[in-house]
């Protein structure tokens, strides 16, 4: 029972899309009408409500409606990364493989290899150092597996279990720092460490480990006490680098389960080796123009450039009792201005907590939403401030991830 519940907890911790670092470049729109320039993952639960499958496929905005008829089946809440035409899916608690798909000239995906990960390890975040080198964080194993994405073969392992010691006050024997999210900047691999104490609670403070990409050697841990829980498993865009090379990490603060912990954004400036002591966007205490005035976690993030971050914010005042990710329409599309910390509500209807996709195509922000009136891909035009009235692409199942391919 507990095993099942643990899986449930972990699956539900990680409902947002995984955005590849460079996939958010909106300066090169490419051919947005070409078939298959978006990776779409939809989740369909079974009658239990907490199990089921997800479906992976490519779509484009000119399709008014898509089904999963030819989609690849994956675990219920997988994580996805894009590198060129490659897609790597990790299976979280539902499986122990990383699966590679390749987008062909026709825009369709074909499977291109599998990599076995440590059993029960919870493979999550993937980042690419080069066409032949990538990293996958294996959360419960306390490891980062180094692999060649072209051959899907393991080439190395980075053991993190020395980094978890002494960060769990309730259990000093906890050696696993739970590598949650990764990004690469200037030849360094930054790894956000959740430092979990229990299923959903992190230790106080934010740790980011730094490794050298060339040698895969550990360099240091960067720590900050202002926020807790840096990054979410598998959600690459919760740690990102902007145009000037500043690194931002979204801290989830145990999803609000630990009083006193603060959620928000910390920054490591270009060239710096510590968090910027002058910068912290505190989303826990922010006053936002939503019912109740406060937001909780940010599902599905996407950095759109120009200091603008888009996400889907939990609105506690819209939650039911008990809260329900599937049926509560309690997640509101927002824009976070990183410079000021201002959080603006976008003119899109609130959705549930399962549909969490955010990406960019041709200066449009694409949101995967499950609202009371439509389920699918909505658009928002930052230039005009206009949003689509309904989904421009309806989907079969809630869009748990939508990522744009680089064109």
């Amino acid at each position: 029972m507990k095993n099942y519940l643990s899986r449930l907890a972990l699956a539900s911790l990680l409902l947002a899309p995984l955005l590849v670092l460079s996939a958010c470049d909106s300066n090169d729109p490419g051919d947005e009408q070409a078939r298959g320039n978006l990776l779409l993952i939809t989740g369909i639960p079974d009658q239990s409500g907490v199990n089921g499958s997800s479906f992976v496929q490519t779509v484009s905005l000119d399709q008014q409606s898509v089904t999963n008829a030819d989609a690849y089946e994956q675990t219920f809440f997988p994580y996805s990364s894009i590198y060129g035409d490659q897609v790597i899916i990790t299976q979280g608690s539902g499986g122990d493989q990383a699966v590679r798909y390749v987008r062909g000239d026709d825009g369709e995906l074909t499977e291109g290899g599998r990599l076995n990960l440590p059993p029960g390890g919870f493979g999550a975040s993937v980042v690419f150092a080069s066409p032949t080198k990538a990293y996958v964080a294996v959360v419960f194993a306390g490891q980062i597996v180094v692999f060649n994405p072209q051959t899907m073969t393991q080439t190395g392992v980075i053991d993190l279990t020395t980094l978890g010691i002494a960060r769990n006050p309730s259990n000093p024997e906890d050696r696993n720092p739970e590598p949650a999210v990764m990004t690469i900047r200037d030849g360094k691999l930054y790894v956000g460490l959740q430092q979990l104490v229990t299923q959903f609670s992190s230790a106080d403070g934010a740790d980011v480990a730094v490794f050298d990409v060339a040698t895969d050697t550990f360099e240091r841990v960067i720590h900050d006490d202002r926020a807790s829980g840096p990054g979410r498993y598998g959600y690459n865009q919760t740690m990102f680098v902007d145009e000037v090379g500043d690194l931002y990490v979204h801290c989830v603060a145990s999803f609000g389960a630990v009083p006193g912990q603060k959620a928000g954004f910390l920054r490591i400036r270009q060239g710096a080796t510590e968090f910027d002591p002058t910068y912290f966007v505190n989303t826990t205490d922010a006053n936002v123009d939503v019912p109740g005035g406060q937001i909780g976690i940010l599902n599905g993030l996407g950095y759109g450039g120009g200091g603008e971050l888009y996400g889907i914010a939990q609105v506690p005042a819209l939650q039911g009792n008990p809260p329900n990710y599937a049926t509560d329409r309690a997640f509101q599309a927002v824009r976070v201005r990183l410079a000021t910390g201002a959080i603006e509500v976008l003119p899109l209807p609130p959705g549930n907590g399962i549909a969490t996709g955010v990406t960019f195509i041709e200066d449009q922000v694409i949101f995967g939403l499950s609202t009371a009136s439509g389920v699918g891909l909505y658009t928002y035009d930052p230039a005009t401030g206009q949003a689509s009235d309904g989904p421009v692409v309806t989907t079969q199942g809630d869009p748990t991830a939508v990522l744009a391919f680089e064109e």
Binding site: A71, E173, D174, F200, G256, I297
Partner: protein
Amino acid sequence: MMRVFFFFIGILTCLPVGARAQTGTINGRITDTSTGTPLPGATVAIVGTTLGAAAGDDGAFAITEVPAGVYTLRASLVGYTPVEREIAVRSDETIEIDFTLAQTTAEMDEVTITGDAEAAEIRESPYAVTVIDGQRLAGRGLTLDEALQRATGVQIRRTGGLGSASIFNIRGLEGQRVQIYIDGNPADVGGDSFTLDNIPLQLIERVEVYKGVVPARFGGDGLGAAVNVVIIKPEDGYFDAGYTLGSYGQHQFSVTGVRPLARGVRLGASVNVDRAENDYAFESPFLPGLVVRRDHDAFRRILTGAVLETSRLWFDEVEVEAAVIASNHEIQGIQTNVQHAESHALTGVAVLGAERLGALGGRLDVTLGAVLYGTRSGLTDTSAVRYSFDGAPFPSPNGHGELGLIPTDSDNRLLLLRQRGAFTYRFAPVVGSVPVHTANLTYVLDAARFRPSDPVANAAAGRNVSEFPGDQMSAVVGLSHEWRPFGERFVNVVGARGYAFRSEGTPSNLTDPTAERPPPVRNATVTVGASEAVRYRLRGGLLAKASVELARRLPTNTELFGDGLLVAASPAVRPERSLNINVGLQLDRTLSDRRRVQAEVSGFVLNLRDMIRLTQGYAGLAAYTNLGAVRIAGAEAEVRADLTGWLHGAASLTYQDARDVLATTPGTTVPSPTYELRLPNLPWLFGSARVEAHVANWLGRQTRSRLFAEGFYTEEYFYAFEVSSRQERRIPRTRTLGLGLEQAWLQTGLTLAAEVQNVTDARVLNVFNQPLPGRVFRLKLRYTLVGPN
């Protein structure tokens, strides 16, 4: 967890002191029709009562202290066709009556649809019901779950070998929607400490499987499917010992005896020991090509009980019973190599019961009872390391625990007090020997308290994550009326059930973890259900049946109050409801003295609403919600035939198509992506076939040999809703073959059975990612002695 209510037998709160009944005696002798030889061990029972006797070496029997009245007397013996006779017993008189029994052709049928008279009577009731004769299976090395798998329309989905979890699937209903009864008492088996496999087949007289509509006389909730296990009621002298040796370290030993202490007083005792290593190999569903031999799935269980019965009071039978079950089960990892985690349970049951049949001049049957049931169950998972399947250790994610992300050493205590009563009254007008009107009132009153504790988990979490106590009281009342205006030809049963349920619990309050003692939440529910069933006897051995039920399932405590860890409280969850309709035809035709055919075909529709589903909640939580709507429609067919005097065959096929009929996503106007799709992870087409041959006196006089072959088939089904042509996550089609030989020396009561299940060593699983054993060998030796000495 609170749902570990179960067990045992009917009982008594007060013993009315009344005048001793006026009684008579029945004497007689039982012989073989063809040879005229005595049939020692044959039994004679008064149908509808617990009175009876076994024939001695000379075939003679005597039943004393029989209350005056008109009865049906039934004589039976394994391998012979039962015979019934009507008798009238008068006060202080002795009736002489002899029986001659003829050998049957299908004497060791497993799923008996002819069976003994009581089973036949149930089968001819207006309900869709299959009856399994436990005593005819007792010679085989099967568990009860495996026996139930042989019933038409039933799928038992298992996760592993002996001791593993079982999911009952009847008419597409699973889990808490299928109600389990033991001797008519609700026996929830959803808890950790008790499964139906706890009951050895030797202790089971029969199992009734109700499909679609459950008679109102059962005082429990459920959605239209029920399994009622009837425990044997041995007569004055009974001894049964059995030992099963099976593949993968399976050993099962059972001994049961009943001995008269004095006139009208009997003492019975039973000891059952089960152990299994379950060390079979399987291919990892997570890492293709990796073959793993299970090495941490050992199961140990001991069940012991004693009963003291007397028929010297106003009641025909008063009994005091106590039983203890202790079990320990290692947990086998499938995805990871679990080496230390295990579950354990200790259960005690005390029962006081009384039964009086035929009071008020044969009109009133009364059963009263009280049960005190307590259990301690827990999961121990504190290992500091986890292991790869190559044996390499690595640290547990949060320091301790192989299964979850938190160590645990739980001690969950449940105490249940139950009082139950059942009253059946037969009104005066009689057609033939059948009363025109019969009324039944059944009630079950429960009071339960659940006290979970897990200091290890609390310490690891740094706060209380386990101590969320709950209390529950409930009353279920069933009232039914049976109408037989034309004797046996037509039966109409109308019933109603009322439920009153009050529960109070401490909710999981994970969104405010500083609240050590959140205020309790309460749920009070009052609701009703109703049923109507008719059966008409057509010509030529043909019966027509139809029934309809509005069924209810009450929320469990976990559904209402959460589990303290990750499931939040949902005190407003409503009962599930279902409107079920069944129609069927049943044929029983004798073609010649050696050939007989029996067939049954039925169709059904179940409309489930307000299905309680677990849904994703906030910050890793989940919560139960009334979300689902499902329609299950299907049909099942069964045919059985005595093809010759020595060859018997049977086959069945079940089709059950469960569809999601929620047209829009809850709370929206958006069409549901799964509307009208078949529910996944449910078997939808399955069947079985069996051929068996019998030889009498092959290995000597009064020996019987049986050779059988049986096949099982389940069509492939999807793990998730079928929406893509590329779906790989499937539970594959399974076809298995079993072969066996059973040899009985009836004179000595000795039976030896050898069988092979899954002869072809086919890869079998019926729960996703939970591989089952391949080829299994079993050998069972059973010795039975029946008689007053």
